[in-house]
C-alpha cells in the first residue's frame, strides 16, 4: 500500500503585481492587481512503504510547494493527496506525529544550547514518554554517532555534525515518513558521504520511507532507487535511478593533478578541456566509453596525485531529459 498517494495535485499562487515607480505604488495601493502563478500543475505519484525516493528539480520547479502540501502546510488548489492515510492539510497536527522533516538550512536546534537540550524539547513536543524517550535517544545517538558532540553547543558544531543532529532530531518520534529537503547542501565531501550513509541506514534499519529533494546528483545516485524529476510544476521523469544513471548521468568532468610533469597526453574518446604539464581536465561520456577504460589509459601514461569527478548539474540533466525522451522497459517519462 502506498504511504504517499497523490492524484492531480495542483497549486496556483496569487501574487500581487506592481508597476515600477511612485505611480505604480499608488496604483497598487488603491487598485491592487494580482497575477496567478501555477507552481504545481496536477502531479500524480505514489510512494510505497520503505522507499527512498529522490524528488529533484531546479529552483522554482515546484519541489518545496509539493513538500509543503504533503506536510499539510499548504492547501492545494485542486487534486487529492494522502500521506499515511491522512489528508495532510485537513489533519496537519495528527500527521505531524507520524512524519518528520528537515528543511535544508532551517534549523530546528537551539543555536546556543547543546543538541541534547533540543532533543529533550522535541521529546516533549512529540509527547514521548520519559522512559521510552531515553531508549529512543540512545538508539538515535548510536545510529548517528552523536555521542562525541551531543553535549556541545550547536554553534560550535561543524555543518556536517549539525546536519547529523538535525536529521536525528527529526526521527526521535519514529516517523514513518521523513521529508529531507536538501540535507547535504553546503557540506564538504566527507560530511556528504557521512550524511548519505546515515540516511541509507535509517531507511534500511528502521524501514523509514524517505522523500528526498536535492540538487546534488551524487545524493540521488548513491542513495535512491527511484527518482522523480519535476520542472515547471510538472513531473517530467519518474524512473529508476539506474535508468537515470545510464541515460542522463553519463557526462562526467574529470580533473586530474599529475604527480610529475607530463607535457604530452593521448586520451581517446574524451574531450580535453584543459591540459598543462601539471594536470588535465576532460569531459567523458560513459555511453561511448566506460570510465574504467578512460582511467586505465590515463594511468598508463601518468601518475595521479589527485583526481576529482564532477557530476552533471541538475540543469544539464533536465535539459537532457527534454532533449532525449525516456526509453523503453521499466522506466518511463511522465508529464
Amino acid at each position: 500500500m502506498a504511504v504517499i498517494d497523490v492524484k492531480d495535485l495542483q497549486k496556483v499562487y496569487r501574487t500581487k503585481t506592481k508597476e515600477p515607480g511612485l505611480r505604480g505604488s499608488m496604483q497598487a495601493l488603491l487598485r491592487p492587481s494580482y497575477s496567478e502563478v501555477t507552481a504545481v500543475k496536477g502531479i500524480s505519484l505514489a510512494v510505497e512503504k520503505g522507499e527512498l525516493l529522490a524528488f529533484i528539480g531546479p529552483n522554482g520547479a515546484g519541489k518545496s510547494t509539493t513538500i509543503k502540501m504533503l506536510t499539510g502546510i499548504l492547501t492545494p488548489t485542486a487534486g487529492t493527496a494522502q500521506v499515511l492515510g491522512l489528508v495532510p492539510w485537513e489533519a496537519r497536527r495528527q500527521l505531524a506525529y507520524k512524519i518528520g522533516s528537515v528543511f535544508g538550512q532551517k534549523s530546528q536546534l537551539w543555536y546556543h544550547l547543546p543538541a541534547l537540550d533540543s532533543f529533550r524539547l522535541l521529546g516533549s513536543i512529540y509527547e514521548i514518554d520519559g522512559g521510552e524517550f531515553a531508549k529512543r535517544l540512545a538508539q538515535v545517538v548510536e545510529l548517528f554517532e552523536l555521542e562525541e558532540f551531543i553535549k556541545t553547543p550547536v554553534r560550535k558544531l561543524s555543518l556536517g555534525q549539525r546536519m547529523r543532529c538535525e536529521i536525528a532530531a527529526s526521527i526521535l518520534h519514529r516517523p514513518q515518513v521523513i521529508f529531507l529537503d536538501e540535507p547535504t547542501i553546503g557540506l564538504d565531501v566527507v560530511a556528504k558521504l557521512k550524511i548519505r550513509e546515515l540516511i541509507k541506514r535509517l531507511n534500511e534499519e528502521e524501514q523509514t520511507t524517505i522523500f528526498l529533494t536535492s540538487h546534488d546528483a551524487g545524493d540521488i545516485e548513491q542513495l535512491c532507487k527511484r527518482v522523480i524529476v519535476i520542472n515547471y510544476g510538472e513531473i517530467i521523469l519518474d524512473a529508476s535511478t539506474s535508468y537515470l544513471r545510464h541515460n542522463y548521468l553519463t557526462t562526467k568532468i574529470v580533473n586530474v593533478k599529475f604527480a610529475s610533469p607530463c607535457p604530452e597526453l593521448k586520451l581517446s574518446g574524451v574531450e580535453i578541456l584543459k591540459h598543462t604539464e601539471k594536470g588535465v581536465k576532460f569531459r567523458a561520456d560513459t555511453r561511448s566509453r566506460s570510465m574504467e577504460d578512460v582511467l586505465t589509459e590515463l594511468f598508463s601514461q601518468v601518475d595521479a596525485a589527485d583526481i576529482s569527478v564532477e557530476e552533471p548539474a541538475m540543469e544539464v540533466i533536465i535539459r537532457d531529459i527534454y532533449a532525449r525522451p525516456a526509453g523503453e522497459g521499466e522506466q518511463h517519462a511522465a508529464g
Binding site: Y13, G72, I73, L74, R93, I99, I125, E127
Partner: protein, 278 residues
Amino acid sequence: MPVPPGKVSSMQLARGGAVRKYLRVAEISLTNRLAYLADHLVSSIFLILILFIFSQLWKTVLGTEGQIAGLDSTRMLWYMVFTEVIALSTPGTHSLVSEEVKSGDIAYKLVRPYSYILYYFSSHCGEYAVRFVTNLLVGSAFAYLAMGPLAVPWAKLGWVLLGLALAAAINFLVSFSVALLAFWLEENRPFFWILNKMLFIFGGLFIPVEAYPQGLRLVSYLLPLRYSISGPALLVVNFDYAFLWQLLAGQLVWVLLLAALVTAMFRKGVRRVHVHGG
C-alpha cells in the same frame, strides 16, 4: 514495550504531555537566555543610568515631603524600578514572530505538533523570567543604595506575583498582536514604535497614571498598557486590596480579550499561509 513507528500511545497522551511540552519550551528558553547572562548584565547599565537620572529628579522635585499619586521620592524611584524592569525585561518575541511571518518561515513551525501561539508564549515566559530577575537585582541594588529600602509586602507576595505574571501575559499579547499584522502589512515596524511610545505615556512608565489629568487618565484606564506596567508596579510599592481586585479584574479582562484577538488574527493570517504559502 516500544511504541511502533509513528504511533502515539494513549499513555503518552494521558500523562499531560500537552502541558509538559509548553513547560519544556519555557525551560529551554530560560536555559538559552542564561547563555547570554553576561551580555544582559552589561546592558543593565542602561537601567542604572535611567534610575540615576530619576533618583536625582525625584529628590529635587519632591524633596522629603512631596508626593506623586501618594508616593514619596523613595517609593517613586522604587515604582520606576518595577516599571522599567517590566518594560526592559519584555523579550523581543514580537520581532522574531514578525520576521517569521514576513519571510514565510512560519510554515516550518506549522509542521510541528504544537500551538504556535502557546509555543511563543512559553518561550517568552522563559526568557522574561531570566531578564526580570537580573534586571530586578540590578535595579533594586541601585534603588537601595540611592534612596534606601522599600517596605516589601512579603505577606502579599503571592498576589504581587500574580499581578506581575498577568502583566507579562498582557505585554506578550499586545506585542504579539502587532507582530501578527505582518500577515497583512509589508512593514509593521512603525506600529511597534507607536506601541513603545504609548507604553511610556499610557503605561505609566515614569509616573503612575493615577497622577495624570482626568482626560489622559481616562484614556489610560481604557487601554491595556496601564494593566501591564503601571498597575503591577504600583501594587508592589503601595499595596492595597481594593486596588489589587481592580487591577486583577482589569488584567483578566484584557488577557481574555487580547487572547481572543490574537487567536482570531492568527487563524485568519495562517489561512493565508495555507493558501498563499506566506
